[in-house]
């Protein structure tokens, strides 16, 4: 079994309390950083670790930190993005529920590295129980001298607050999150300026995902180079994967990046295969916005290589035959699931969650939802598939924030890989509302192509 860097102690009774967390070596990273390292040293370790943003974009965290502007006399902020809303993703909720002090510890170390004196954890509003858990953990840490003025006698001061959102997927986009934290509608900002230059209240700001910040703790404890030894290539370290949909053992798993997808999906240590003895039809590997793949293309790349759970391997083949790591929201579809219905469901989600600022997204997501609705309910036309691809292409890349892309990709990829199922919904409209298309040939092994 792979070593756990984040969830090693998650099953220890009382690990959600300061004392138990501390007894398991908790807050050692704060002591090490504040007593023996300069803030630049901490940034350097994170750079060496190769840690990539765990919220979905996969941008190197250390590099993001090094972009932070540091003008004299201007406050700097660290904001933790705990607005976990990407369908299929529930790892941050898990981490905050069961081991909140790991996030608090990471926040202290990261804030120190960035020179932030006030930091915020922006938690989605629906997670009120987690907000209460975090507020209690913060109070405990403060009581023990790990937050507040002159932490551990180092001269470093930090206040940490939890901010609830109001129920809006868009606030997971970092500039929308900052708008929301300023008490406004969650409309993403035009970049540049990037938050590193002008973020919260116009001050230099870093926004990082919960898991990225938690990963700073093992990186400081063990050193960036040690952390980088875990994983494969540029996918270093471990990743939390939220496994859901029709897997037998849904839940949050910490994997070494580079784990073969077949092992992740079928071994009892992880997903345990598909529930109820059914066959796998399709997988959305990294949250609803990444391209959906049929089973055969998910298990192996187009060149026949076994696919791995890493940023590079999942993306192998580009948009034609690959997908993305995204947020690690792993959704498996069994043979009885309808791709058209699910695509309509996701399109409805993006239409509902579009902030309405950019017309391609505001209008286009609604059009896609309506066209997919008529396809699902047997009133579609053969031209609808091309229409959907056309609309998706006109949204993609034409919006301020990536929600437009996130709405376009699932639709375009579903039609790319499952066009025959969409066509069947048109030709067999009446039948399509009573039964599902089934698995078709999606789960077949790839035909072996011989060079001639």
């Amino acid at each position: 079994m792979a070593r756990k860097l984040l969830l090693e102690h998650i099953n220890v009774p009382g690990i959600n309390t300061f004392d138990v967390y501390r007894s398991k070596g908790g807050y050692a990273a704060v002591e090490k950083a504040l007593k023996t390292m300069s803030s630049d040293d901490v940034v350097e370790e994170v750079k060496k670790s190769g840690l990539r943003g765990r919220g979905g974009a996969g941008f190197p965290t250390g590099m993001k930190w090094s972009f932070l502007a540091k003008p004299e006399g201007v406050a700097r902020y660290l904001v933790c993005n705990a607005d976990e809303s990407e369908p299929g993703t529930f790892k941050d909720r898990y981490l905050m529920t069961y081991i909140p002090h790991l996030l608090i510890e990471g926040m202290i170390v990261a804030s120190y590295a960035l020179g932030a004196k006030t930091s915020y954890i922006y938690v989605r509003g629906e997670m009120m129980p987690q907000i209460r858990i975090l507020e209690k953990a913060i109070a405990e840490a403060k009581n023990k001298g790990f937050l507040g003025r002159n932490i551990l006698g180092s001269g470093y001061d930090l206040e940490l607050y939890v901010q609830p959102g109001g129920g809006a997927y868009i606030c997971g986009e970092e500039t929308a999150l900052l708008e929301s934290l300023e008490g406004k509608r969650g409309n993403p900002r035009i970049k540049p300026p990037f938050p590193a230059i002008a973020g919260l209240y116009g001050c230099p700001t870093v926004v990082n995902n919960v898991e990225s910040i938690a990963a700073v703790v093992p990186i400081i404890n063990e050193g960036g180079e040690e952390y980088a030894k875990v994983g494969i290539g540029r996918s270093t370290g471990t990743k939390l994967i939220s496994a859901g949909g029709n897997v037998k053992n849904p839940g949050v798993y910490e994997i070494d990046l580079g784990l073969p997808v077949e092992e992740f999906l079928y071994s009892e240590e992880y997903c345990g295969g598909i529930a109820n003895g059914k066959r796998l039809k399709a997988v959305v590997a990294g949250g609803s916005s990444v391209p959906i793949l049929p089973a055969n293309l998910f298990m192996k790349t187009i060149t026949g290589e076994p696919r791995l759970m890493s940023y590079e391997s999942l993306a192998e083949g580009g948009f034609v035959s690959g997908t993305m790591m995204g947020s690690g929201g792993f959704i498996a579809f069994d043979e009885d699931q309808c791709i058209v219905r699910n695509t309509w469901n996701f399109a409805r989600f993006y239409h509902h969650e579009s902030c309405g600022q950019c017309s391609p997204c505001r209008e286009g997501t609604g059009w896609m939802e309506k066209v997919l609705h008529r396809l699902e309910y047997g009133h579609g036309k053969m031209s609808d598939m091309d229409l959907l691809v056309d609309v998706s292409k006109k949204i993609e890349g034409n919006t301020i924030c990536p929600l437009g892309d996130a709405a376009a990709w699932p639709v375009a990829s579903a039609i790319r890989h499952f066009r025959d199922e969409f066509e069947w919904h048109v030709t067999n409209g009446a039948e399509a509302v009573t039964r599902n298309y089934g698995i078709a040939h999606y789960a077949d092994p790839l035909p072996k192509v011989e060079a001639v």
Partner: protein, 175 residues
């Protein structure tokens, strides 16, 4: 679409305890950035009154020294704030993809039948309303629903567990 319902918008008073909580929230932000407190304050207002009425929003605007419209535009943007009165227990069922793969739609049908009201309506006794909401980040434990203002989660729902929940809530309300 009418989003703000003024029909039951009777004037509201904020208790000293509530205002003290507002003050605690405002103290988290730098001087002059008190508008940041808007979302948390609206949650407190909704927890107190069950929804966010126009007079309540006006009072929040006064408290934060911002324009009324700055509160309206925020309250109507975010899906958690109710712009009209709801049942005492608002059952919010996740209707997004992963939960649908494990039967969320059937759970919603069952709730509709059990409560006898359509999505968004309130039962005649004023106890219940229900609606589908987008992903609640509990995809591994679906189908799920949440009930405010504590936002307690109920996971891996079945028709039986929903029936039990509804009867438990009825019993709780009559005590």
């Amino acid at each position: 679409m009418l989003r703000v319902d003024n029909s039951e918008a009777i004037p509201v008073e904020f208790s000293p305890e509530l205002v003290a909580k507002f003050g605690d929230i405002v103290s988290r932000y730098p001087e002059g950035k008190q508008k940041s407190a808007l979302l948390p304050i609206l949650h407190l207002v909704q927890a107190e009154f069950g929804w966010v009425s126009a007079p309540a929003m006006d009072k929040v605007a006064d408290y934060l020294h911002i324009q009324d419209i700055e509160v309206y535009e925020v309250a109507t943007f975010y899906s958690m704030y109710f712009m009209r009165p709801q049942g005492k227990y608002m059952l919010e069922v996740c209707r997004t993809g992963p939960c649908c793969l494990v039967g969320a739609e059937k759970i919603m049908d069952h709730i509709e039948q059990k409560l006898g009201v359509k999505e968004g309506d309130v039962t005649p006794d004023g106890l219940f309303s229900w609606r589908g909401v987008e992903c609640l980040a509990a995809c591994g434990f679906g189908p799920v629903l949440q009930i405010g203002p504590e936002y307690t989660f109920y996971e891996k729902l079945t028709n039986e567990s929903v029936d039990q929940l509804i009867s438990d809530l009825k019993a709780k309300a009559s005590n």
